[in-house]
């Protein structure tokens, strides 16, 4: 018998890093993107099958902010994990992602997360080096380059995150 369980996942990242478009093609969505600007959050669902289990990741796509203080931390309550998204062409967004991670951990303790460095299709314009990514991996980050255009890294991130959450 297939068992379906739900997990709450928050999608976090700076302004216009592309986290909404990154997952757009891979999720079930019933709400319009207008929710992001009005309520500050949009809920999507991503089902991941792990063996005989189906994990429904309920994705809380939080409005991207360049001003961290305006992020509604209350939306993170009860999250089983989170996805951080940064823009490879803008190092500041990686800083932002890491600082979001610190903030989440300060308020909710350590949680499984995946860090996606987006816009891998513009690799030649990247301002983040492979050395930087290696450094992050050494520090225990699950980090992958991703692309909203090709879909690279997205499925991996969700599968891996789901695995770590339900372990």
């Amino acid at each position: 018998m297939t068992v379906a369980i739900q997990k709450k996942i928050c999608m976090l990242g700076g302004f216009s890093v592309g986290k909404t478009s990154l997952v757009k093609r891979y999720v079930e969505s019933v709400f319009s993107e207008a929710y992001l600007t009005t309520v500050g959050v949009k809920i999507d669902k991503k089902s991941v099958t792990l063996g005989d289990r189906v994990v429904n990741l309920i994705l809380w796509d939080l409005a991207g902010e360049d001003d961290m203080s305006s992020l509604r931390m209350s939306y993170l309550r009860g999250s089983a994990g989170y996805v951080l998204v940064a823009d490879g062409t803008r190092p500041a967004t990686l800083e932002m992602a890491l600082s979001l991670r610190r903030r989440v951990e300060a308020e909710h303790g350590p949680l499984p997360f995946a860090l996606l460095i987006n816009k891998n299709d513009l690799r030649e314009q990247w301002a983040i080096s492979d050395g930087d990514l290696e450094e992050l991996r050494r520090n225990g980050c699950w980090v992958r380059p991703s692309s909203a255009r090709t879909g690279e890294g997205v499925e991996d991130a969700f599968t891996d995150l789901a695995t770590r959450i339900v372990r």
């Binding site: 739900q6 429904n56 939306y75 009860g78």
Partner: protein, 648 residues
């Protein structure tokens, strides 16, 4: 060990036995028995054991010395209340946590007593503790009650005057229920379409039940979004405290949210649910909390094995109130009767309304006609006024000396502006005759001098004041003066003619005769050439002067007649003179007497006396100054001067 804590303590506090603590005799016998078992020949007697044997003490120390020391320390702890308190404090939480429900039963009476005592001592402390909990609860309860009341009042008002309302009143009276309750029971038509149970902490869906044929989006997504909206409202509106949205309404669809400590129940209701339904939801929620508290606390997204919760929710989802049922079939007598009555009433009312409508239509038509007539009259009046106004303006334009620069209607007033010669006709006077209401007319006239012959003529008349002997008239583009005038007037007239503005009519005075010339001038010269002679010292004319006097009188009369035709008057000055012999004063009076004599003689010859004035020059105005006798003879005379004056 199954003894209770109280027994344990009692055992510990049991008074200690004497130091020896051991039945030495029994011990000695035991040891002898032991020796015999080892060595059967041994026949030592325990009787030889003294009461105090240091070896026994040594043995005891060897055997149980450590335990004695531990017990001593334990005793110290037990006997010192401070140490005992600290020790119990260390283990109490663990003991309470691991105890079963009996601890609650044991403690409950003591806690109740303690709480009661505490409240008696200082109720404020409890109030402070409960305040944040109780006030929102009371507020919510009062709010719900008021909502209920309003709803029932509203319905009551709506229903109380209808047939159905009367029937329900009867039902309320018959069943003893409140009328509002009866009304609500009959009027609220609703159906609970979905019931969600949402985990507060994660926003994840615990369970969802939908009524048959109810459609909705993915309940997992919907429940998370509802949870997000609750958070959003709580964060955005601080005043709401910890309460979130409890009602959302979209058309006839309502979302009722009831929040519990661990989970929130959300019912999607179509129609008009009674407040009672909210109580039902609250009850279900609290029942779920009661029965599955543990599950709710540890919920991590796994909804399997929650069939009982789903059953509870199904109870809610089944709730609905049907609309009034269709009546049983059969001949619809009531409907027929009612329809007949309604048709009758409707017909009557219709006829009545038709008559009223007819009457009103007639009145309206009359009013419309009257209004049209008034409008037509008004239009006519306005047209007439317009006509009068344009006639007036035309009249002004026709007037010499008036130049209309602008005319028209502005802000309900007639306006005319232009130039006006001060000698021109008065526009106000023309306006008075025009029939236009002067109050509606605004006029602005700038003064100017017109060059129309008539105005030039008038200005000349005003400034030159021509004598009656001169007539001024307009001939073509000239002003022509005809008649006769004194040289002095002619001089002024010539100057005035020169000063007339160029381009205007000219003044022609060529036809004015100068009185100093012609017949009059000649006659005047003749009169003035005549002197009446006198002998020395005589005041009467010398003999032989009568002929001269006759001629003089005739000439004066002729001149008078001549100039009277010219509206002129003749003034005669008769002056007497003397020679230079004798005193001056005498000569003066002599000269006056001579003049008087001549005047009298002229009167006698028909010359009107009022034309003549008398003067005496004495010896001061001699004709010949040589001083000879012949010269003196010439100087004894009366001279006559003629002056022509315009008739007054």
């Amino acid at each position: 060990m199954s003894t209770s804590a109280a027994e344990t303590l009692e055992w510990l506090f049991r008074p200690a036995q004497s130091d020896s603590g051991i039945d030495r005799k029994a011990l000695a016998s035991l040891l002898v028995e032991l020796a015999r078992a080892v060595e059967p020949k041994s026949c030592a007697q325990p009787a030889g054991v003294s009461a105090v044997d240091p070896r026994l003490t040594q043995l005891r120390d060897l055997l149980v010395g450590h335990e004695i020391e531990v017990l001593g320390r334990l005793r110290e702890v037990i006997e010192d209340p401070e140490q005992l308190g600290a020790a119990v404090g260390r283990v109490l939480p663990t003991a309470v946590a691991s105890s079963d429900s009996r601890l609650g039963e044991v403690l409950a009476p003591a806690l109740e007593k303690a709480t009661a005592a505490s409240i008696r001592n200082d109720p404020r402390a409890l109030i402070d503790i409960l305040y944040p909990v109780i006030v929102p609860a009371i507020r919510k309860s009062v709010g719900d009650t008021i909502d209920n009341t309003f709803q029932s009042l509203n319905e009551s008002l709506r229903q109380s005057l209808t047939w159905r309302g009367l029937r329900w009143r009867f039902e309320a009276w018959r069943t003893g229920k409140a009328f509002a309750e009866v009304v609500l029971n009959h009027t609220l038509i609703y159906q609970v379409e979905h019931v969600f149970l949402i985990h507060n902490h994660t926003g994840l869906l615990i369970s969802h039940v939908a009524a048959e044929d109810a459609a909705s989006q993915d309940p997992q997504l919907v429940s998370s979004m509802l949870s997000a909206i609750q958070d959003f409202v709580r964060d955005s509106f601080q005043g709401a405290g910890q309460q979130g949205v409890d009602t959302l309404r979209l058309g006839d669809l309502r979302l009722w949210c009831e929040a519990g400590p661990l989970a929130m129940i959300v019912a999607v209701i179509r129609g008009n649910p009674p407040e009672e339904l909210r109580r039902t939801l609250r009850d279900v929620l609290s029942r779920i909390h009661e029965e599955r508290r543990q599950t709710l606390e540890t919920f991590d997204g796994d909804s399997s094995g929650l069939a009982d919760i789903e059953a509870h929710l199904s109870d809610c989802a089944a709730l609905k109130q049907e609309g009034p049922r269709a009546r049983r079939r059969g001949f619809p007598w009531y409907v027929f009767l009612l329809a007949f009555l309604l048709v009758g009433i409707a017909g009557g009312v219709g006829l009545w309304r038709w008559e009223i409508a007819q009457k009103m239509a007639q009145e309206q038509a009359q009013i419309a006609m009257e209004q049209a007539r008034i409008r037509a009259a008004e239009a006519e009046r306005r047209a007439a006024e317009q006509q009068r106004w344009s006639d007036y303006v035309d009249q002004l334009r026709a007037q010499p000396g008036l130049v209309v620069a602008e005319s028209g209607e502005r802000d309900g007033k007639f306006v005319v502006t232009g130039l006006r010669d001060p000698l021109a006709a008065d526009p106000a006077a023309i306006l008075r005759e025009s029939g236009v209401d002067p109050a509606r007319v605004v006029s602005r006239w700038q003064p100017y001098q017109a060059l129309d012959a008539i105005f030039v003529l008038r200005r000349i008349e005003a400034s030159l004041q021509p004598p009656a002997s001169v007539k001024l008239s307009i001939e073509g583009d000239r002003i022509v003066a005809v008649g006769s005038a004194t040289p002095r007037w002619l001089l002024r007239a010539r100057a005035a003619a020169r000063n007339l503005p160029a381009g205007g009519p000219a003044l022609d005075i060529s036809q004015v005769q100068n009185l100093a010339e012609g017949v009059v001038g000649k006659l005047r010269a003749q009169i003035q050439a005549r002197d009446i002679r006198f002998n020395t010292n005589e005041s009467l004319p010398a003999p032989g002067q009568d002929e001269m006097l006759d001629e003089l009188a005739a000439e004066i009369n002729e001149l008078t007649a001549l100039v009277s035709n010219m509206s002129m008057m003749v003034r005669i000055r008769v002056t007497g003179h003397s020679d230079d012999i004798g005193p001056g004063t005498y000569n003066l009076s002599l000269s006056l007497a001579r003049a008087g004599a001549v005047v009298a003689l002229l009167k006698k010859r028909g010359v009107p006396a009022d034309l003549i004035t008398i003067g005496g020059a004495g010896q001061l105005d001699p004709l010949d100054v040589r001083g000879s006798d012949s010269a003196r003879t010439l100087n004894r005379r009366v001279s006559v001067a003629v002056r022509l004056e315009e008739e007054q």
